[in-house]
């Protein structure tokens, strides 16, 4: 996909996952979609610190992480006026219905279960941006 064809091509992404390999996979997929600005964090706390420094446009977040898990980060993001508007996509191995419901109730914009395909991730990102775009109109 060409960068000029994507919504919000200058969007800044924050990828939060405790596994380096998963962060690299997501970064490469985003790059293929056309999103070149991607920062990484290994847990929720590091992500929170990065959110105070940079105005991110999208957060892709794992659930199970040491120090601060994804649901806590999501709750913290939604609780803060400066960050509550940022779309959050949960990408996680947690496939329990109660977790999916909990994430939705906490304000997640999407939920992708690992293992996933690059197409699934790019579709979710595009859908969330489309929803955001419609909301802004």
């Amino acid at each position: 996909m060409n960068q000029s064809n994507v919504l919000f091509p200058d969007a800044k992404f924050l990828v939060v996952d405790d596994f380096t390999s998963m962060r690299r996979i997501i970064r490469t997929i985003l790059k293929q979609i056309g999103y070149l600005y991607v920062e990484e964090a290994e847990n929720g706390l590091v992500a929170q610190n990065k959110l105070t420094v940079t105005d991110f446009d999208f957060i892709i977040c794992d659930w199970n992480m040491p120090v601060m898990d994804g649901l806590s980060l999501l709750t913290a993001v939604r609780a803060k006026a400066e960050t509550k508007h940022i779309p959050v996509l949960m990408v996680t191995a947690e496939a329990k219905k109660e977790n999916i419901v909990a994430a939705a109730q906490a304000g997640a914009n999407g939920y992708v279960v690992k293992p996933f395909t690059s197409l699934t991730l790019s579709e979710k990102v595009t859908t969330i941006f489309e929803q955001k775009s419609r909301g802004n109109q």
């Binding site: 390999s21 998963m22 996979i25």
Partner: protein, 233 residues
């Protein structure tokens, strides 16, 4: 007014007495339960000793650090493998992107060249071959990129297996702690050890386990070569 007060007092006393009686029954029941648990514990203790299970437990405890080491090793190796593959893919995809762009430019240039009039037939044929090659290169490059992405996506196993291994290691650690405690509490030789003696035994167990796990495993070819060389091979 005094009668109701008296009645109320009576009812209160009856209730208190009933509560007291219930409390006594509960205490008796608890004492009985504790007695029975104590007897079961004694039977378990004696059985463990008579059947030699304390030694079996000790042997089992000795194996646990090795299992932890192996799991840790699996985690480390899969992490390293995924890293090698992802690094190659991160370098390979831009190379394919560049190749695709160059092939597209070659196709456009050759196409433009072929629009010229009065070209030598041999040159035309050569240009058409170049056009075919540039188109094939584009198709191959796109397919190669798709394959690289598939290989990349397959590396997510490292994340999923890594989480499993972490959970298993945590479980093993808890199991080890509990079994070691059982071993210390039920071991024949340690019934009269006291707290400091038990602590020393725990320390020795851990030390022995560490020595065992470190000394019995070779993991690299250089370690194998060194070992064989030390044995005179």
């Amino acid at each position: 007014m005094s009668v109701p007060t008296h009645n109320a007092q009576n009812e209160f006393d009856i209730l208190k007495s009933s509560e007291h009686s219930e409390q006594s029954n509960k205490n008796e029941q608890q004492t009985e339960i504790l007695d029975r648990v104590g007897k079961i514990t004694r039977v378990l203790h004696d059985s463990l000793r008579e059947l030699g299970f304390d030694r079996a437990l000790e042997a089992f405890c000795n194996e646990i650090p090795e299992a932890q080491d192996r799991l840790s090793y699996v985690s480390k190796l899969t992490d390293e493998s995924a890293d090698i593959v992802l690094t190659a893919i991160e370098r390979g995809i831009p190379l394919q992107d560049t190749l695709l762009l160059q092939a597209q430019q070659a196709e456009q240039g050759t196409h433009f060249f072929l629009t010229k009039k009065n070209l030598d037939p041999e040159v035309t044929r050569f240009a058409e071959d170049t056009l075919t090659l540039s188109r094939a290169t584009q198709a191959t490059s796109l397919e190669t990129k798709a394959l690289l992405l598939r290989i990349m996506m397959a590396q997510d196993f490292q994340d999923l297996t890594g989480q499993m291994v972490q959970k298993m290691m945590l479980l093993i650690e808890q199991l080890e702690r509990q079994l070691t405690q059982v071993l210390i509490e039920f071991s024949t030789a340690n019934t009269e050890l006291g707290i400091s003696g038990q602590a020393q035994m725990l320390k020795n167990l851990r030390k022995n386990k560490k020595v065992k796990s470190e000394s019995e495993v070779v993991r690299t070819q250089s370690e194998v070569d060194a070992l064989l060389a030390s044995l005179g091979y």
